[in-house]
Amino acid sequence: MSKKNEQKREERSAYLFLAPYLILFLTFIVIPVALAMTLSFTDFDSVNFPKWAGLKNYISLFTSDAVFMQYVVPNTLKFSLIAGPLGYILSFLMAWMLAQVPKRSRTLLALILYSPSMTSGVAMTVIWKVLFNGDQTGYLNSLLLNWGLIREPVQWLQSTEWLMPVMIIVTLWSSMGVGFLSMLAGILNINPELYEAGYIDGVKNRFQEIVHITIPSLKPQMLFGAVMAVVNTFQAGAIGVTLSGSNPTPQYAGQLVLNHIEDYGFLRYEMGYASAISVVLLIFIAVSSKGVFKLFGDGE
């Protein structure tokens, strides 16, 4: 058999194995993204055929959508810049400490720290609503009143002041997911000789050890964990609406980009406009991930 023929057969069999995934991946991930980009240049009310609108949606999004510029963008930046990095650093530190305790307690503690990732966001709402209830029957209010830290119950989920902090706390609570497990496994697999060599080469303390040995050896897992952190943060973006029970959230205090998309897409049926917001969000996520790749990638 000629070499060329064999290569052809190999290609054919590769595509046969790939085909089911590839078709589904194209249909439900690639095409929706492409479609969102296309629709973002149109007027589309979901009944009539989309009408070409050029850059109109983007122009009104950035020049005349007061809610978007005044609340949605600052909220999203605040939420993602706090919850994302903080959750990520927390995952790394927890993983690093867990790697230094014996297996049995490590498994148990890791299971507990990971357990929030097994709950569904919707299902947990009922628990948060009871814990953060706005009158004195709320558990947090009752506790703080009891300790004399507050004089009257705080409207945690309905106040413009507190909704965002609660959203961030709830997101941090569930930030130890797949990325955390990846970093934990990565740390456990670092070759112990590297540490010995490091100490011979002049590493003096645990901090230097993290900077010069742990992080460089862990780069691939840290990159994976960072990408997962970015995704989780943006995916959690709808949480303000579930917690406060209304879209828009009270005085837009917890309004993030995902909620703005739903508001226009599914409540007002301005699909073209909503698609433009989706595209902006996707670009935002891509830029964040790019930054993450720059930080942890192999110096490209």
């Binding site: 290569q7 290609e11 069999s13 089911p20 995934y21 589904l24 991946f25 249909t27 439900f28 991930i29 929706p32 993204v33 479609l35 969102a36 629709l39 927890m94 400490m97 867990l98 305790v101 297996k103 503690l109 299971l111 507990i112 990971y114 097994m118 709950t119 569904s120 919707v122 299902a123 009922v126 628990i127 609503k129 009871v130 814990l131 029957t137 009752s142 797949v178 934990l184 990565g186 456990l188 697999n189 112990p192 540490y195 010995e196 100490y199 862990l218 691939p220 897992q221 994976f224 990408v227 970015v230 995704v231 943006f234 995916q235 897409g265 599914f266 698609s275 989706s278 996707l282 996520i285």
Partner: protein, 290 residues
């Protein structure tokens, strides 16, 4: 001295130097675990304890009354309770099975086959790790509509099958299966399909188990299909039914029922993860993006 430092990672037994880690880890675990404990406590509270003021975190006289109420409520709705469960179980099982199959095949091709677009496809898949599905709900709806899947049971399953994270983990894991093994099989006359089933799949069991867990978690918890693509209640899932409880049931009895439902949703995830957690850890060891 130097060698002592290295041995601090992955210790085999307790040593007083570890106390400083426990001092941080245990309170963190307690903080993280409290809301989970609260699901249990709240679900098991009898009605008078749910009303109690000041509220008490832990249940003092556990009872199954909230579960009974939940059953009654479900039985009195138009759709019988077993229907929601049946839908959830069938759609989750099929999603998990199909995802594992499709992902294993694709992972094999990307890891062990040579073809021109290989790196390009894997690169695109790695980019898709950061894909947030909720951002493209609208075009996805149009595609589901266009493919005629509205009001079909399959809509629970088919749109959920391509999972970039799963393919990524499986491919990375398969990369460490030695190529010589596959070549030897080929020389012995094994077909591709045979090599895949008898060598590659058994050796990648850990990563496939991880895909099972991740898919199960999303499929079991999701309400997307029930909420957006299905109009008839008898095709919807338990997760959907429970989301209607959390949004409407604001009275005290409703809160107990919702907590009971939350617990029912949580337990299967927990059991599956505990059973398979060893596989997850060995998969994650190869999860880095290089």
């Amino acid at each position: 001295m130097a060698s002592i430092q290295g041995k601090k990672m992955n210790p085999s037994r307790f040593h007083p130097s570890q106390i400083k880690f426990y001092v941080i880890l245990i309170p963190m675990a307690i903080l993280t675990g409290l809301p989970i404990v609260f699901i249990f406590s709240q679900a098991l509270k009898p009605l008078n304890e749910l009303y109690l003021y000041p509220p008490r975190f832990f249940v003092s006289h556990p009872s199954l009354s909230s579960f009974r109420k939940l059953l009654e409520a479900m039985n009195s709705s138009d759709v019988p309770i077993y229907r929601y469960f049946f839908n959830s179980i069938v759609s989750t099982l099929l999603t998990v099975l199909c995802t594992v199959g499709i992902t294993a095949c694709a992972g094999y091709a990307l890891s062990k086959k040579n073809f021109r677009a290989k790196n390009l496809i894997f690169g695109i898949n790695t980019m898709a790790l950061m894909f947030v599905g909720a951002a493209v709900k609208i075009p996805k709806y149009l595609i589901v509509y266009g493919t005629g899947m509205i009001d079909k049971f399959a809509v629970h399953i088919i749109p959920a099958l391509a999972m970039p994270v799963g393919l990524f983990l499986v491919k990375q894991f398969m990369d460490q299966i030695p190529n010589e093994l596959l070549e030897a099989a080929k020389i012995d006359g094994a077909t591709d399909w045979y090599t895949f089933r008898k060598i590659v799949v058994p050796l990648s069991k850990s990563s496939l188990a991880t895909v099972v867990i991740l898919t199960f978690q999303t499929a079991w918890n999701t309400i997307e299909a029930s909420e957006l693509y299905l109009n008839h209640d008898n095709q919807k899932t338990f997760a959907y039914y429970m989301s209607t409880l959390t949004t409407t049931g604001n009275d005290v009895a409703g809160i107990g029922m919702a907590a009971a439902a939350t617990l029912i949703m949580f337990i299967p995830n927990l059991i599956i993860f505990i059973v398979m957690q060893n596989n997850v850890m060995s998969t994650m060891a190869h999860s880095g993006i290089k």
